[in-house]
């Protein structure tokens, strides 16, 4: 009865195109937003901010960027982390070259650089498809990480080759750097991620979304009904890399505080790919669900033995954790290859007709 949609009629196309045609969805979202904006910040400890809330949001955003490219436009990419790196280094250069710049503006601008690099590395997608393209994106992955190491200008010729986030102020409050408070950083991340999510929802439900999905489903037919594949694929690379770049800047500036080049190496790319796929390709919600599972669950699992007083060596916990993540990936792929978002969709469909199954 909770999800009864009977009695909710749409009287115009405009109403039908509203974000949440079903009232209960809007209520659920409202509850989630209240939790995200009010309850969590009040209740969460420093540990929860740093290991769960902030990273889950940032990872979800990165996965959303990847999802635009892979889930919506059908171009498999294994180089996400490198584009996050472009965003992070661009942001670092901007705030160190122009210290007067507003940090949030810098973060949002850094995506522009990754978008540019993304488009450049997206050009091969016009000729190369499928796994070949996936391997081609690895060229970007390895080349860019190499560049982060070799191009000393990028890290201001630091002896360590790592970048360190300086203390950045906005309206008299530290938002980045060691002096920044977790709560402030959480709100900055939450605001940016919320806005980006909104933009992504709009883009994917409109003309561009249909263009991308058409390119993904049958590229030849898409071209024959008038879609410029080059434009479609390159806009996907552009939008995706922009989001991923912003996520990368947030990753370093709002969470990690410092970064070395190999942070942006392939394990991070895979991690984000896991999130996008376990969450559900071609879904916005899925990125959040995937991030909770892939980022949040291991953290929680890691604390369990200690919390329960089970004496297991921490290295054993880590081994088991790695195994568990592997097994979980396989498990979820088997029970629902279309991801957690699809699982939720099915549950929701059941709820709509519940308790009368026929």
């Amino acid at each position: 009865m909770l999800y009864r949609t009977a009695g909710q009629f749409k009287t115009s196309y405009k109403a039908d195109q509203a974000l949440f045609p079903v009232k209960q969805d809007a209520i659920l979202l409202g509850v989630i937003l209240v939790f995200a904006w009010v309850v969590f910040p009040l209740a969460a400890s420093e540990f929860t901010f740093q290991t769960l809330l902030i990273p889950i949001l940032i990872y979800a955003l990165a996965a959303m960027g990847l999802n635009i490219l892979t889930g919506y436009a059908g171009q498999l990419s294994l180089g996400t982390a490198a584009f996050m790196g472009v965003g992070a280094y661009a942001c670092y250069k901007m705030v160190t070259l122009m210290p007067w710049m507003n940090p949030i503006v810098a973060i949002l601008l850094s995506g522009v650089f990754s978008a540019g690099v993304g488009v450049a590395f997206g050009i091969p997608s016009l000729r190369i498809k499928g796994f070949y393209l996936a391997i081609a994106t690895l060229a970007a992955q390895f080349f860019l990480v190499w560049l982060f190491e070799k191009w000393a200008w990028l890290y201001n010729y630091n002896a360590s080759g790592a970048i360190q986030v300086p203390n950045l102020e906005m309206f008299g409050v530290y938002v980045a750097g060691p002096q920044a408070d977790s709560l402030v950083q959480y709100y900055v991340v939450l605001a940016i991620v919320s806005v980006m999510t909104m933009l992504c929802i709009n883009l994917t439900r409109g003309t561009l979304g249909r263009t991308w999905k058409a390119t993904r489903d049958v590229d030849i037919a898409a071209e024959l009904i008038g879609i410029n594949l080059m434009k479609s694929k390159l806009t996907a690379f552009m939008v995706s890399s922009y989001i991923v770049g912003v996520a990368g800047a947030l990753f370093v500036f709002m969470w990690r505080g410092a970064a070395e080049p190999n942070l942006f190496d392939i394990p991070l790319s895979f991690r984000i790919l896991f999130i996008a796929i376990i969450g559900g390709l071609g879904s916005i919600l899925g990125n959040y669900l995937g991030a909770i599972l892939i980022v949040g669950l291991p953290v929680v699992l890691g604390t369990l033995p200690a919390a329960l007083g089970v004496p297991i060596a921490s290295s054993m916990v880590e081994h088991i954790n790695v195994m568990m993540v592997g097994a979980l990936i396989i498990f979820f792929l088997i029970i629902e290859p279309h991801g957690l978002a699809q699982l939720w969709r099915l549950i929701r469909e059941k709820l709509i007709i519940w308790p009368f199954p026929h």
Partner: protein
């Protein structure tokens, strides 16, 4: 989703409570790595550290009558995991032992805010020696710049002038750490420095680097290696017929197991070290009695004879001494992180103290102060004799007059880049 996060938050909450200190216990967690590509070098160190604390708890009931909770948090040498461990432990911990230059760089800026001392013995950021700037960080008893300086000193200025020195290093903050000092020394002495980076993905296949070494014909190879890179480099060196006695590694490249792969062929390979295994030291007997015989060790006999295990013991000793000094100063056994900082700043490990600890010859004497967080113990040159490492030099000392200004300069740069950064006067 809501349900999920709440569950997560609950569990996390429980975890924080769960790791809380029980009364009469000092929580001194170790951000260990027994997994990942660097596990090979990590495990013996972690075992040594752990066994020392286990021994203290069993023999003396801890330090000053308080047991030490020496819990490990596994990082796998991953910076991300490391930060997670840091956040998880910092609530109760009196110390952070980050165990990787990457993690150290990451938690270093937070140290002023969180006010927990970072203990990074023999690693981390060399300018941490400047205690005025890095009030909460300690790289006792010797820094990477100390290591580089001692290695060059061992080779001798006269043997270096006009020569070519290849600097084979891991392409990682750790490997790049000694570069500023090496570059300065190269200019001062007048030798050609040839940095050769080894990527993280190439650690096990260094044929390109060694082809370069063969082409460039350097007179010496100084190696800043770690984990799987060490074995890779040493096997390649043997294969390329690079004279082993012209190859010197940093202390993390002096791991017995890495050399055992080449055995006899590795004879003559050297490694600088601030620690040395003394198997008949009284401490070893106590370890045997209170830890090994009780079945509490994770180590094995072969590993316990190696350089890294005994270095683990030394590192825990430094922490234990810091706690002891702090307890005496604070007048209570249950010290706070800032008490421990005072303790680590006022270490005075003399020969006499080492004898009391039963560790004579395992580490050179050293002393820290508020302004000097390293102690600059100096070190010994070890040489592989085909079976194990032997001490082949007297105590070497790093050139303080070269290093100190460089430390001060780079510490100041760091502080400037991280404005606002509190600097202490150390009066």
């Amino acid at each position: 989703m809501r349900h999920f996060t709440r569950l997560a938050a609950l569990a996390a909450f429980g975890a924080v409570l769960g790791t809380g200190t029980v009364a009469q216990e000092l929580y001194a967690p170790n951000l260990a790595y027994r997994t990942g590509p660097f596990a090979a070098t990590g495990i013996p160190l972690m075992n040594g550290q752990r066994d020392y604390m286990t021994m203290l708890n069993a023999r003396d009931g801890g330090i000053g009558g308080v047991a030490i909770n020496f819990e490990e948090c596994e990082t796998g040498y991953s910076t991300e995991k490391g930060v997670e461990c840091y956040e998880k432990t910092k609530g109760q911990a009196i110390v952070t032992q980050p165990w990787s230059t990457g993690i150290t760089l990451q938690v270093l800026p937070k140290s002023n805010v969180d006010q927990i001392p970072i203990l990074a013995p023999g690693y981390g950021f060399s300018p941490m020696a400047d205690g005025k700037v890095f009030q909460w960080a300690f790289n006792t008893p010797a820094s990477y710049w100390d290591a580089a300086s001692m290695m060059l000193e061992y080779i001798g200025e006269e043997n270096l002038k006009g020569k070519k020195v290849a600097f084979l290093h891991l392409d990682h903050p750790f490997g790049k750490e000694p570069l500023p000092l090496m570059e300065k020394k190269a200019a001062d002495i007048g030798f050609e420095l040839l940095p050769i980076p080894v990527g993280l993905k190439e650690m096990q296949n260094q044929s390109a680097q060694w082809l370069q070494i063969r082409r460039e014909r350097p007179d010496y190879v100084i190696m800043w290696g770690w984990g799987a890179m060490n074995a890779g480099a040493i096997t390649e060196a043997v294969k390329t017929r690079f004279p082993m006695d012209k190859m010197i590694g940093v202390w993390w490249a002096g791991h017995d197991a890495d050399l055992k792969i080449v055995g006899e062929d590795g004879k003559g390979y050297k490694s600088i070290s601030f620690s040395y295994p003394v198997l008949d030291a009284p401490l070893m007997a106590d370890i045997q009695k209170y830890v090994v015989d009780e079945g509490k060790t994770l180590s094995n006999e072969e590993e316990m004879q190696g350089v890294f295990y005994s270095r683990g013991l030394v590192i825990s000793m430094i922490l234990a001494e810091g706690i002891k000094v702090a307890q005496e100063h604070a007048g209570t056994a249950e010290i706070s992180p800032s008490d421990l900082r005072w303790g680590l700043e006022n270490l005075n490990i003399t020969e006499a103290r080492l004898a009391e600890l039963g560790m004579t010859g395992m580490v050179p004497p050293f002393q820290t102060t508020c302004a000097n967080h390293t102690g600059h113990s100096g070190g010994w040159m070890l040489e592989w004799d085909g079976e194990k490492f032997q001490k082949v030099s007297d105590l070497l000392q790093a050139e303080a007059e070269v290093i100190a200004p460089l430390e001060a300069q780079m510490a100041a740069e760091y502080a400037a880049a991280n404005e606002p950064w509190p600097v202490s006067a150390c009066n």
